[in-house]
């Protein structure tokens, strides 16, 4: 009884706080098409017109390959041209096309210095013709992230920041969500070869949602992530565990 009252109170408070942050209210979202993630995220997906951060951390993804593919898969499910701002020349367009990001849709802006990436992203976000703007940087501080957030709010574009090189240090910033993608062992096949790759997708931080980790199958040729079949058959397992922990 007391528990239920507290839940109600919390819900009311959440609503009040949601009202204080105007960018959160009634924005369109891009759903992942994966039920557990979409129900967990406020609004049911990645909010458009906001900044989202993808960490490329650790020894496994130090070069940000999985982060780039994760971002490309998100863009594949979003119609319209996108701008990709980078300084390094190691992004491999055929790999991005393999998760559904068609080369005709991507405009690249290569900056001389990494410090130019965020201003270039802002320039792109101010432009209303773009569906999304991606940038690869080492750091995303509070002030630049707020500027990106304001520009994204104005145009309704999606801002995705890939944090490369020393991204292990989390910084406080205005990103609406922060993600981390790491590799997970894929199931063995009965014959030599490789099955679809698996990723551990972690929601490290999000406004209005708790951190959470999902084991997923890597995106297919249309950019769709999927729950591994053996987990998808047990939809009630996760909530049950959560209730037990609470």
């Amino acid at each position: 009884m007391r528990q239920a009252g507290r839940e109600r109170q919390l819900a009311a408070l959440r609503e009040q706080i949601g009202g204080l942050a105007p960018e959160a209210a009634g924005r369109p979202v891009l759903s992942f098409g994966v039920d557990p993630i979409d129900t967990h995220l406020p609004g049911g997906g990645l909010r458009l017109g906001a900044v989202h951060e993808v960490l490329a951390a650790g020894p496994v993804d130090g070069e940000g390959a999985l982060a780039a593919l994760f971002v490309a898969a998100i863009l594949a499910r979003l119609p319209g041209p996108v701008l990709w701002c980078l300084t390094r020349r190691d992004l491999f367009a055929p790999g991005l096309a393999a998760v559904g990001l068609h080369p005709d849709r991507v405009l690249y802006a290569e900056t001389r210095r990494e410090t130019e990436v965020l201003p270039t992203m802002e320039e792109g976000l101010r432009h209303r013709g773009l569906a999304a703007v991606v940038g690869e940087v080492a750091r995303l501080g509070l002030t630049p992230s707020r500027r990106l957030q304001l520009a994204a709010e104005g145009s309704g574009g999606l801002a995705l920041v890939i944090r490369r090189w020393g991204a292990a240090v989390p910084e406080p910033n205005a990103a609406a969500t922060r993600w981390g993608v790491t590799a997970a062992p894929s199931p063995a096949l009965p014959v030599p070869g490789l099955s679809r790759a698996r990723w551990t997708v972690a929601l490290v931080r999000a406004r209005g949602a708790e951190p959470r980790t999902w084991l997923l199958e890597a995106p297919d040729a249309k950019g769709r992530l999927r729950l591994p079949p053996e987990l998808a058959d047990r939809p009630l397992a996760a909530p049950a565990r959560r209730a037990a922990a609470g």
Partner: protein, 471 residues
């Protein structure tokens, strides 16, 4: 062949061509003496007015490179490339293009670029025929030059030579007072102008009045916000003029007249013809910080030296295909910010070699709909240069069981391959025998790598890591 003109009672040579110079003739020589030296000399009458007109015509042609151009009789042209060199890919590239195009038109020219008109004058005549002096670094280059390089009158040069002063370095060290008493203001002023201590107003050509608008100000202006507002108003006026003719601008020159005569200019280019005042004003505003207002600017002139036909069009309705003009505006702004060649799209090339499978295409090139073959798995990142790895392979033609990359050993849990790629001998001769066997491997943590073994070397195959991450 020589040209001869009247100098007082004598007829003297005013200009000589290369053959005449080789025969020992020099401008200033008496015509009678020259004819005695070279029998059968072809002489034409000098026409200084026509020379000056031809120089002005040539200077007007140079307006395609920069908005501020001034003829410098008898034989020079000044081009103020500040704010315009980026359109040609930099200062050195601008000089090379300029010289090449003039050479094709039959002009033998020497070009130089420096911080001040005086230094450029000297460098063009005394240094390498295509010189770019570093910003704020012209002093050491000038010190060694003879005094005439400072544009001093011949009498002054010979007078100074009598005092033992023959090089610019000698003049720099001289106290100014005695010099001024003997030779007047000229040597000191020319020295200061060359070194940038004194301003030098030039008489710039007014560009052809077609597609140009101007605003004069009752009071000199200088505040950055005012300049931006002026740019906006001029763009609106110009856009109206262009709309009447059904044209769009590909280049814009904005020239401010400064009260002390040192004109300031900026230029911007666009990827597609445009007459959207807001877009053009935004491009110009990005460049306005380059304008040095000094004590104030009293006139602004905006012209469109390059225009293209641009018909009337409808605004795109929301939800329609993205407006190509909207993309062009974004490309213009990005190119202005990052420089040419840094904004591009990537397009497939039919090549098996991963390095060659991608090429850069212009940002606004039409969409082809072509992509890479979907049945070949490819990594998300391709290392610009494959990195060697030490491998442990159980069998010669099998994927490795473990490999060491960047000092970390990784055990291979699963692998797929090989995908054999043959050298493209029609592109490079040494690739006749080159093959690569690509393997996709997954280590114990699930991380995926793209390794290849080359079969080129005699001492055995070497292994390389080429790509990271894979969906």
């Amino acid at each position: 062949m020589v040209a001869a003109g009247q100098d007082g009672p004598r007829r003297v040579l005013t200009a000589v061509d290369r053959a005449a110079r080789a025969a020992g003739l020099r401008p200033g020589l008496a015509l009678a003496q020259a004819q005695a030296m070279v029998p059968g000399l072809a002489v034409i009458a000098a026409d200084p007015e026509e020379d000056a007109a031809a120089l002005t015509r040539l200077a007007a042609w140079c307006l395609i490179y920069a908005p501020l151009v001034a003829p410098d009789p008898p034989d020079g042209i000044w081009i103020d490339v500040a704010g315009a060199a980026h359109l040609q890919g930099g200062e050195a590239a601008l000089l090379a293009t300029l010289r090449r195009r003039l050479a094709r038109a039959g002009y033998r020219v020497r070009v130089a670029l420096a911080d001040t008109p005086g230094a450029a004058w000297a460098a063009a005549r005394c240094l390498h025929p295509e010189t770019v002096l570093p910003p704020a670094g012209q002093r050491p280059h000038l010190l060694d030059l003879p005094l005439w390089a400072l544009r001093l009158a011949p009498d002054t040069v010979s007078g100074l030579a009598q005092l033992g002063l023959t090089r610019v370095a000698h003049l720099v060290d001289q106290p100014r007072g005695p010099l001024r008493l003997r030779f007047g203001e000229e040597p000191g002023r020319r020295l200061d102008q060359a070194l940038g201590y004194a301003p030098e107003p030039l008489a710039y050509l007014a560009p052809p009045a077609e597609h140009a608008v101007r605003l004069a100000f009752p009071e000199p202006i200088g505040a950055p916000e005012t300049l931006a507002r002026v740019a906006g108003r001029l763009c609106a006026m110009l856009a109206e003029a262009l709309a009447r003719h059904g044209l769009g601008a590909r280049r814009l020159d904005l020239v401010f007249r400064r009260v002390d005569g040192l004109d300031q200019a900026v230029s911007v280019g666009t990827a597609r013809p445009s007459r959207d005042p807001a877009h053009l004003a935004r491009l110009l505003t990005e460049r306005l910080p380059q304008i040095d207002p000094g004590h104030g600017l009293d006139e602004a002139r905006l012209s469109a030296p390059r225009v293209e036909r641009l018909g009337a069009r409808q605004l795109a309705a929301p939800g329609e295909e993205p407006d190509p003009d909207a993309m062009a505006e974004l490309v213009d702004r990005l190119v202005l910010r990052l420089g040419p060649g840094r904004v591009f799209r990537r397009s497939p090339v039919e090549s098996e070699w991963p390095e060659r499978a991608v090429r850069r295409v212009a940002p606004l090139s039409p969409a082809t709909g072509v992509t890479w073959p979907a049945d070949l798995p490819r990594p998300g990142r391709l290392l610009p240069v494959p990195e060697p790895v030490a491998v442990l392979a159980a069998l010669p033609d099998a994927p490795p069981t473990a490999f060491t990359w960047r000092g970390t050993r990784r055990r291979v849990a699963r692998a797929d391959g090989p995908e054999r790629i043959f050298g493209e001998w029609w592109l490079a001769e040494d690739e006749v025998a080159a093959t690569r066997d690509y393997y996709r491997v997954e280590d114990e943590t699930g991380a995926r790598y793209w390794l290849f073994r080359d079969c080129l070397t005699r001492e055995g195959a070497r292994w390389w890591l080429h790509g990271l991450g894979e969906a």
